[in-house]
Every structure is written in C-alpha cells, then in structure tokens.
C-alpha cells in the first residue's frame, strides 16, 4: 500500500510533506536517548516487513506493520515509519519521493492512533496484552487503507470505491497482522514487559550481583 509518484495533486503532496515534517519533529522531540535502540529495531523491522509477501491468488500483498510499530513505540512511531518509508522509497522503489509525505501520514497516523489504542486496552494480563496487540495490528492496517482511499480521493478518485477495493485487498493482511502483533506483543510481555511501556518512563536499572 504505497502511493506512487504523480498520483496525487501537487497541493496534496506539499500538504502531506508539511504535516508529516511537523509530526516527525514532534515525534523526534518526544524520543529520549534511552529509547533509541528500541526505535532503531522497530524501524528496521518495519523496513523489512514490506518485503514479506503474502500470496493471494493472482496478486500478493505485503505486511505493513503500522499497528505493531505504534503499539511498541507510541508517538515515536511516526519518526520510525517516516525513516522506514524513506529508505523503502530509495532502495526498493516503493512509492515515490514526491508522495513520501502522504505515505508517511498514511502509515504514521494509524500508528500513533494504534499506540494510544494499545495503551488504553492493555491490562495487566498476558491475554489482554495479546488481545490489545491484535486490535492494534488489525486497526492499523485498516486505518491505513482508509487513509489511502482518502488521499486518492484528494487526487480525484471516488472515495468509497477505492476504500472498498483497498479494504478487500487487505482483509487477509489485516487478519495476519493482527495475529503477528498479538504473538509479538504476547511474547514481549512474557520476556521483556518494560518494552511495552510508552517509553515515557525510563526503565529501572537492575543491579546485577
């Protein structure tokens, strides 16, 4: 799900750039130096996930992971997704440089929303974490499809037509991302629960005897 060069009108591209630069700056200001390794790992995962293709009959879709990135990083996810998309654009020729701002908004806004959703839903148990992760993963992809339709509608397409097509094409991806996010977050809850905090709290230092 990437918007290519030349699809969007210039005003929408420029507006997308302006809003996403502002959001990236806001996101970068919220990043603490303690979080940097985690952000780097999530960015790498997001960058590589787009190469995991899911065959769907004649066509195929790939993983997007905005929901998982949002759940793991919170507001900081925007900068991770922006950087991941920039490198995908430069190295994989996914999407276009002129549409990068719109693409970043399309993936980044669902990520931030899913971060909030995840923090609101997660309880203290393993099961609730997994369920919240599944909800975040599925919602992230679904919201990205809606944003895609919105951007293409700005380019003169029919909003509901595009939204229906994008949703239909991504139903399997939504299901798979929900499962992957649930598994990942459940695993992290068992192994390293402090990774699932928003990052506003610096992890306590453990003294190893």
């Amino acid at each position: 799900m990437h918007i290519s060069d030349g699809v969007l009108p210039v005003s929408v591209s420029l507006g997308g750039y302006a809003v996403s630069v502002a959001l990236a700056a806001w996101s970068a200001r919220r990043t603490t130096s303690v979080q940097l390794p985690k952000v780097a790992v999530v960015t790498s995962a997001f960058f590589v996930a787009s190469l995991v293709h899911i065959p769907l009959g004649p066509t195929s879709a790939h993983l997007l992971l905005p929901g998982l990135a949002g759940a793991l990083l919170g507001p900081v996810a925007f900068i991770a997704i922006g950087l991941g998309l920039l490198l995908q654009c430069l190295l994989f020729q996914f999407g276009g440089l002129t549409a990068l701002g719109a693409n970043a908004l399309m993936m980044g806004l669902p990520a931030i929303a899913c971060g909030w959703l995840f923090q609101a839903l997660k309880g203290n148990t393993h099961l609730r974490h997994a369920v919240a992760g599944a909800a975040a993963g599925a919602t992230g992809t679904a919201m990205a499809a809606v944003f895609l339709a919105g951007f293409l509608a700005a380019g003169g397409e029919d909003f509901f037509g595009v939204a229906k097509i994008a949703m239909a094409a991504h139903v399997p991806v939504i299901v798979i991302e929900g499962a992957i996010s649930a598994f990942t977050i459940g695993f992290l809850f068992r192994v390293k629960p402090e990774l699932l905090e928003t990052g506003l709290v610096t992890p306590k230092k453990e003294i190893h005897g």
Binding site: S33, P37, A40, S44, F47, V48, L51, L87, L91, Q93
Partner: protein, 95 residues
C-alpha cells in the same frame, strides 16, 4: 626424422584421396526444394529458441526489479547508523 615426415606425407596424401561428401547428383529443382525445407525448419527452430530467450530476459528483468538481500542490508545499515549517530549526539549533549 625422415621417417616421421614420410609418414605424415603419406597420411596427408591418404586424407586428400579420401572420398569427399557424396553429393546427390539430382536435378536442380529437387535440390532447391530440399534446401528451402531445411531453411524453413531451421527458421522455425530459431524462432522458437528466440521466443524462449525473450521470455527468460523478461523474467530476469522482473526479478531485477525486486529488491534483493543487498538492499535489505543496506537499509538496515542506514537505520542503525542513523540511530547510532542520534545516540552519539544525545550522549554528547547530556555529557
């Protein structure tokens, strides 16, 4: 020395005397037909082969468009490098 050169000479003479390719001394018309048939057969074979090569080239082009392992590692390297630089700046500012 003399003997070996003599043997070689004899061999060469024998080779020259060997019967050449037997040409059918047929009338010109049948000869022409046979040549045309042969040419058409070769032409068919060649165009089939060419089609195969074209298909292979198209498949190769499609495969070259998708990113390979090199791009993946380049991207991960960029990400880790950029965040490493950010961590360096953050650490300098703090210290």
């Amino acid at each position: 020395m003399m003997r070996t050169s003599a043997i070689i000479f004899v061999l060469l003479v024998l080779l020259a005397a060997a019967p050449g390719p037997t040409c059918a001394q047929s009338p010109g018309e049948t000869d022409c037909k046979a040549v045309t048939e042969l040419l058409e057969k070769q032409n068919r074979q060649l165009s089939a082969e060419l089609r195969k090569v074209r298909r292979e080239i198209a498949a190769l082009g499609a495969r070259m468009d998708e990113p390979g392992i090199r791009e993946v590692f380049a991207g991960i390297g960029y990400i880790l490098g950029l965040f490493g630089a950010a961590a360096l700046v953050a650490a300098r500012r703090k210290g």
